[in-house]
Symmetry: C2
């Protein structure tokens, strides 16, 4: 073999090997085993040109729940922590709150009192913290909070408590031609200011719950003003509707962790074509939290029983994940 | 100069020239003049790295109205032609329609009778043609219709009556790092099945008016069923709201043709940063249609008066466009 042929063969060898190396390295925080293999097999199947299960890149839509799927949701949803913090910051401007529920319970740190104020109480809190300001003002409030707020147990920033294996999964899907969306029960405008930096997912690829808003011109300045009225609840049966409204394409891959994601996974896997669904099971009390059928936040009951019958992959955080958080 | 240096210089010359050549060729159906120059200048300004007006590609969001901006809207909105055709196809299954308004007027071709049935009549027509089927069924109905339906005056497919200069503009923006969205008063699900093929814009980048829908599982089959109830009207003040809800970013470029686009252009150009707004003025009775302040469809009155005061570019189809439709 001549020198030139030697180099050419070496380059060819390297080029052939590169995708294999890259594939093995794409999910380094996932332990080898059936779960990781199921992901890799699915992606290989839909992206093998000429194969029976090839899916055009335009149709490779993947949807991820946020709370409990991409980041933690214990001891309470992060957005609820935001609401409680916000009520405390605003309290000095609202002296009446110390005698009026649900504000009184929030200010007293009385979560059971808060719970007893029910949906009406929650709506009052949402109204007081999420509405009554412009879109730009709310984006700044959410941004400022998320940059500094810390988890009560670990003392770490919430944004550093995202799941490293899921970050790798998002990148892996994108590298294989998928367009990735977040489809969360959380507030769409609460997430949009920081998702690009934290997950590499742009704000326009976020679907979530929302309140109504109106456009108006004040003193010559156009503004979008947020109103204290629910527009859409992106949870349970609402998730496939949110997907339909915002994306207009049926996903071929869906990732969740609670029964609020059930219908989204069901919708993604019922077209008859190639599809993949995965449920993250929080079974790691040492490194994160262990909860499922009885939890107040992120209850997983139906999905744990029915998911496997649908062929959905159940991820054990304990067994399948080498590492929980980014280093 | 050696042979090698000569080639190197030639290559360097070609590489330097290439962007200029490419820029001049990107909008071949636009006549040279102030309008074309304004577009090219804006794009150069926001995409010049290190320049004072540079905009990060992630923030380069451009929004286009559809009816009258990307394709024709005379003698009536294409979607209204769809509604009327659809009523005629469904009539044999609804013998009562021949005696009941607004169906009676539609079947008799009596547009003034139809107009007198007002908003309530229109909602009945929308209910009869856009609701009561699954999402997949409606996508097929819209697809099948758009593939065969022809314009009453030209006898051409509606999809061949899109505006060539606007197709070039969409491609030009995309080539310069913009993400392009349609923000239309028309029905979101009426457009989504064909926009990718016709405009190169994927369905997830369409914002529009919508009806409500619900998710249900029938005989084990998950379905999204379309309901006869308005969810959102993406017109006038609704357009910035549609942009906020679906995109979550303020566009830096907005393209419209009627007063229904006014607020969207106003919103896009009021951030204080670099921005661009353009109104297509239908002033070419020979090659297309001439209408503005008095038109029933696509009325342009306020925008024609106020637009120039806002620094918005008014496109004369007659003067600025070398060609109207693709060849």
């Amino acid at each position: 073999m001549s020198f030139v042929h030697g180099i050419a063969a070496g380059v060819a060898f390297f080029l052939t090997l590169a995708p294999l190396i890259s594939r093995a390295d794409d999910l380094p925080s996932w332990n080898d085993g059936a779960t990781k293999q199921a992901i890799v097999d699915f992606v290989a199947r839909v992206s093998s040109e000429g194969g029976d299960h090839f899916v055009d890149p335009a149709e490779r839509v993947a949807v991820f729940d946020n709370d409990g799927t991409l980041w933690g949701e214990q001891p309470m949803y992060v957005q609820l922590a935001f609401v409680l913090d916000r009520i405390k910051s605003l309290a000095p401007q609202h002296p009446d709150w110390k005698d009026a529920e649900p504000f009184k319970s929030v200010l007293a740190g009385d979560i059971s009192g808060l719970a007893s104020s029910g949906e009406r109480g929650l709506m009052q809190l949402v109204g007081a913290t999420h509405a009554g300001m412009t879109s730009d003002e709310f984006a700044k409030i959410a941004s400022d909070w998320i940059t500094t707020a810390k988890h009560p147990k670990t003392g770490k920033l919430y944004t550093s408590m995202v799941y490293q294996p899921m970050l790798e999964l998002i990148s892996y899907l994108k590298a294989n031609g998928f367009e990735v969306f977040i489809v969360s029960g959380g507030g769409i405008e609460f997430m949009r200011p920081w998702v690009e930096q934290v997950y590499g997912i742009p704000p326009q690829n976020v679907v979530g719950s929302s309140i109504k808003s109106k456009y108006e011109v004040n003193d010559g300045k156009p503004e979008i003003v947020r109103l204290p009225e629910i527009d859409f609840v992106d949870d349970g049966s609402g998730k496939p509707i949110g997907v339909y409204t915002h994306i207009g394409r049926r996903p071929i891959a869906a990732f969740g962790n609670s029964d609020g994601d059930f219908q989204m996974l069901e919708w993604a896997t019922s077209s008859g074509g190639s599809s993949f669904a995965m449920i993250v099971h929080h079974d790691d009390a040492d490194r994160e939290f262990a909860y499922d059928r009885e939890s107040n936040f992120g209850r997983l009951d139906k999905g744990l029983t029915e998911g496997p019958k649908h062929g959905w992959t159940i991820v054990s955080m304990k067994t399948d994940w080498k590492q929980i958080y980014p280093e």
